[in-house]
Amino acid sequence: MSHASSPNMIVIEPVTRVEGHGKVTIQLDDERKVKQARLHIVEFRGFERFIHGRPFWEIPVLVQRLCGICPVSHHLAAAKAMDRIVGGENLTPTAEKMRRLMHYGQMLQSHALHFFHLCSPDFLFGFDADPAIRNVIGVAKKFPDLAVQGVMLRKYGQEIIKATAGKKIHGTGAIPGGVNKNLSIAERDVFLKDIEQIVAWSVGALKVAKDYTAANLKELADFGTFDSNHLSLVRADGAMDLYHGNLRAIDAKGKKIFDQVDYQNYLDYIVEEVKPWSYMKFPFIKSVGPENGWYRVGPLSRVNLCDFIPTPMAEAERKQFMALTKGAPNNITMAYHWTRMIELLHSAEVIRDLLHDKDLQGTDLVVKGERRREAVGLIEAPRGTLFHHYIVDDNDQIVRCNLIVSTTNNNTPMNRAVEKVAKDYLSGVEVTEGLLNRVEIAIRAYDPCLSCATHAMGQMPLVVEVVDAAGKVVGRGERGTRIG
């Protein structure tokens, strides 16, 4: 509901069709021009503190409870750190491939969920369509085939997770130094039966995203768009690798800021800043500084950063995408959707390759070596680079933990996108639901998981607040309300 205490502050709360709970405040000046717009993350959870004292082998299972959306990412990032704690980072082929299968299964389900369930209503019905239709039920009614594909893609990914982690949500598959099971022939054959269909549906979803972007490029090119640095893991040969690699960062023009950095040393390259109005921290690249060192992560950054994608169909699509900017980094916020679907296809291709790999039926599951006290585990989660950093004492108990969650990396970019859209669309006009939806569309492009980002749980409702020139809240809007 909306209640304006002064005419110059708009509040959107909650932001909808995103994971977690957040609000947006938009401050207007005396001419009702947008002066400042911010995304506030209002959840708080405190995992970094309350896992102190827990035994290290419990952490991959415990810490994934941060989230029900992509718990596999936390499970695997923590497991990768614990591999190093037990000196077992050189996994057996079976263990590494089982984990990769789990991770790419998750990537498939998470990207499918975001695209079909959360974002497709905006594309299929338009930004200004009646919100009563512009939702997943509306999609299911008008585009039943597409809706079913979305559900089935997600189901396939979830079943892969179950077969590798033991459960669809919050499994136990990855243990320090390896995994606790392989993939049986029977399990494999169930997946092989449907994989070609999954690849075909992924191609179809990618086409929807691509065609939509191409058809609306004029509006989308500038929609919440700005130049930024980009960061992700890449393989040693520069290939896209969502499970493991070294850190690479580039600026908006594509110039490398650093490359092939061992992520054990991430603290030499990344700093986190705290601001009083959000529970989410603001990371930046140390060498560039807090003002300009912020960066984007996630599908757009990964496609921008990699030299190639190591599966043929996705690589062809990457080339097509990069041709749009003549090989330079693409900084269009709405291009996240296109790149996310390139990754959907890549994930389907990787799963297909893995299913044909006999190593998945191996029985050598765990390795151990020389014990370490401190370790960092990184992974490319669906929403971007995920950092887990732990110190374990001689009694095997956690004494320190730092997490930089994917969405945290995108904190400044999301705020930039919100501000740009607010300034471009809300200045000096009467605010309508359709205009407010644009603010949310800009946030949704990043597929944020606000609950994870505060190391905090739940759906992501969002609030927009408008503050007047004196900083007073003059308008507050929650989803589906008019802002006065």
Partner: protein
């Protein structure tokens, strides 16, 4: 004097042997009476009261009550099941039992019993007690958050391992499992192979660095409720 003791449990004729408790005779007959502190290798203790049955109309703990000729024992009745639910729920709220990430999940007798009894959520308020973890021993860990004070470790260390590692301290709600040492578990003569370590029904005493090694789907209670092994005996006997 006859060498069997005839009595009934829920109307089923059972032949106990001299010196057997109701629980032991029921086990032999393939009738499951829920229990937590009782263990076939340990002397009866009677602390958890989950095995409470009615003997000739009076509540008794089946693990301590010797069977006697002509007893009429009630076990699987709505009243007793409700009583057991209440006891198990109290155990859940008075400790910090987070099954979702506990490595004993799927192999935990407390969790399995709650599933068997159909407990969805406890009716009592959670106490959230402040309890600690002793991880000082190189191979064994005590997580007091999960202890249900069954004294299996106390009895096993003394009676089966020939040691005296564990003991209770405090009374009432302050009662805790403790160790017979000045400071920490590492100062005791506990060995990872001791029976006291493996006999814990919950995730309070754990072998270090072994958690989650058994995948979901292959754990003790993933497919069959607790007590199924006992009940299988009766089913097999009926088929024979």
């Amino acid at each position: 004097m006859s060498d069997t003791i005839p009595f009934t449990i829920d109307g089923v004729a059972v032949e106990g042997r001299p010196g057997q408790t109701i629980l032991q005779a029921a086990d032999d007959a393939g009738i499951y009476i829920p229990r937590l502190c009782a263990h076939k290798e340990l002397h009866p203790f009677g602390s958890c009261r989950v095995c409470t049955v009615k003997v000739n109309g009076r509540p008794q703990s089946a693990c301590t009550m010797p069977c006697a000729k002509g007893m009429v024992v009630e076990n699987n009745t709505p009243e007793l099941l409700e009583h057991r639910r209440g006891l198990v729920e109290m155990l859940f709220v008075e400790g910090n039992h987070y099954c979702m990430f506990c490595e004993k999940s799927g192999n935990c007798e407390l969790q399995a019993l709650a599933y068997r009894l159909g407990i969805m959520a406890p009716r009592y308020p959670f106490q959230f007690p402040d309890r600690n973890v002793d991880a000082s021993h190189p191979d064994v860990l005590i997580d007091r958050n999960r202890c249900i004070l069954c004294a299996r470790c106390v009895r096993a260390s003394h009676d089966l391992d020939g040691k005296n590692v564990f003991q209770f301290v405090g009374r009432g709600s302050k009662k805790r499992i403790w160790i017979n040492a000045e400071a920490k578990l590492k100062d005791t003569n506990l060995d990872v192979t001791d029976k006291a370590v493996e006999i814990c029904p919950v995730g309070a005493i754990l072998k270090k660095r072994q958690g989650y090694a058994v995948p979901v789907g292959q754990r003790l209670y993933d497919h069959q409720p607790i007590g199924s092994d006992i009940e299988a005996k009766r089913a097999a006997a009926a088929q024979a």
